[in-house]
Amino acid sequence: MHPFLGLIRHDLRLAARQGGDIGLVLGFFVLAVVLFPFGIGPEPELLRRAAAGIVWVAALLAAVLSLDRLFAADYADGGLDLIALSVMPLEMAVLAKGAAHWLTTGLPLVVVSPLLGLLVNLDSAALPSLVLGLLLGTPAMSLIGAIAAALSLGARRPGVLLTLLVLPLYLPPLIFGTLAVEASLSAEGARAHLLLLAALTVAAVPLAPLAAAAALRQALD
């Protein structure tokens, strides 16, 4: 098997056997969304206006929550050194790690998002653009997150640091994602925003692994 696929399979298998991670991320996502109506009040009209933002912000925070595990375990037990020594370029390894991270966090978030959208009274006409937006935006978030996760390896308080590093970089997907949902309800249509989201992901696929691999190299020095 190609080492790229092997690494993805290895990470997926670990996630499946250890359990926990996917459940934790999804649980956080659901709880964060459920908290909002308590905070801003139960009026359906208010919730409808805020629904897209609530779901996107909750998904973004849930994604951040899982980032520190992207490389930390392999860094701690030395597996990362072996990955760096393997025949596969480190950039490809980062891409594989990012893909596995997306499959275990981003994709589950996408799958449950319509349910949560209904919970906060999102227009059912806007559901496709919410799901499609998350589907296009979360891979970019996983890959950008990989840069921050690699940079903060071995830091003193990686959790707080990681959040500070990654949140400004997550603004563009958040903005385009919520705008896509809003635009899908108007005559304008969500197409432009969804294309921009796709552009972010397409740009992140080659660029983010370069930066993350450079960060990993200097973490392993």
Binding site: A155, L165, L171, P172, A214, A219
Partner: protein, 252 residues
């Protein structure tokens, strides 16, 4: 360590000579600029006296952006050529830039209170400056997050480069986000053109801010270099105390 001191030593000589000139010039320009801006310049026909905040706000905003660019360039040089001074330069500049960004945010908020009737508006420009402030904080936090300082320096350099690539994307997305929510016409400063009686003090202030940055930057760099030299001396003294008498480099 001692071999890399060769270049820093030359830098220390040069910066030591330039320091009083830079400091004096920045104080003169700031004093003249402030007097001009706060007393002599005419009040705006629409904004009245509160336009005077602009003379602090706009140069601070210019500095906030250019210092981030400076940090990114320094980081790039440090990563590509492994020049030790470039890393120290980027780290010395970042907190000064963060302070300019903070001044820009605070003065913007103070100006917004009488002008817009609120302390904070999610205006596209204000929001981008806020994001820039967070980028600065992230860089400073990352540089200081490691026990091994060289690790922190290299991680920070990478982050500064990632930040400078992302900055235009963030700026674009924030503009895009805001223009769909509210028109930007309300938030323009006075009008598209600025009168000469205001432009000249503004430029004087901008020059003063630039010189102030140069001064603070050199002070911080000299401090960082002296710190390194102290650390080197301490290690040097511990490992080879008896043989080293006489060849020990003196602290200036």
């Amino acid at each position: 360590m001692l071999s890399t001191l060769a270049n820093p030593a030359r830098f220390m000589r040069f910066s030591g000579a330039a320091l009083p000139w830079l400091g004096g010039a920045s104080l003169v320009f700031l004093a003249v600029g402030l007097a001009w801006a706060l007393v002599l310049a005419p009040p705006d026909y629409q904004q009245g006296e509160s336009v005077r905040i602009m003379f602090i706000h706009v140069p601070a905003a210019w500095m906030a952006l250019s210092v981030y660019l400076f940090v990114a360039i320094g980081s790039g040089v440090a990563l590509i050529w492994r020049h030790p001074l470039a890393e120290i330069a980027a780290q010395a500049a970042a907190p000064v830039g963060a302070a300019f960004t903070f001044v820009c945010l605070v003065t913007g908020s103070l100006w917004g209170r009488p002008m817009w009737g609120t302390w904070w508006v999610w205006d596209a420009r204000l929001t981008s400056v806020l994001v820039l402030f967070f980028l600065y904080l992230g860089y400073i936090a990352l540089v200081n997050a490691f026990d091994d300082t060289s690790r922190g320096a290299r991680a920070g350099s990478l982050l500064a480069l990632v930040g400078i690539v992302n900055l235009p994307i963030i700026k674009f997305s924030v503009d895009w986000w805001n223009t769909l929510h509210q028109p930007a016409s309300v938030l323009r400063l006075g009008g598209p053109t600025i009168d000469v009686s205001m432009l000249v003090p503004l430029l004087v202030m901008a020059l003063g801010f630039g010189l102030l940055f140069g001064w603070l930057f050199l002070v911080r760099m000299r401090t960082a270099l002296n710190e390194r030299r102290l650390r080197a001396l301490r290690i040097y003294g511990e490992t080879s105390e008896p043989a080293a008498t006489g060849v020990r480099p003196a602290l200036r």
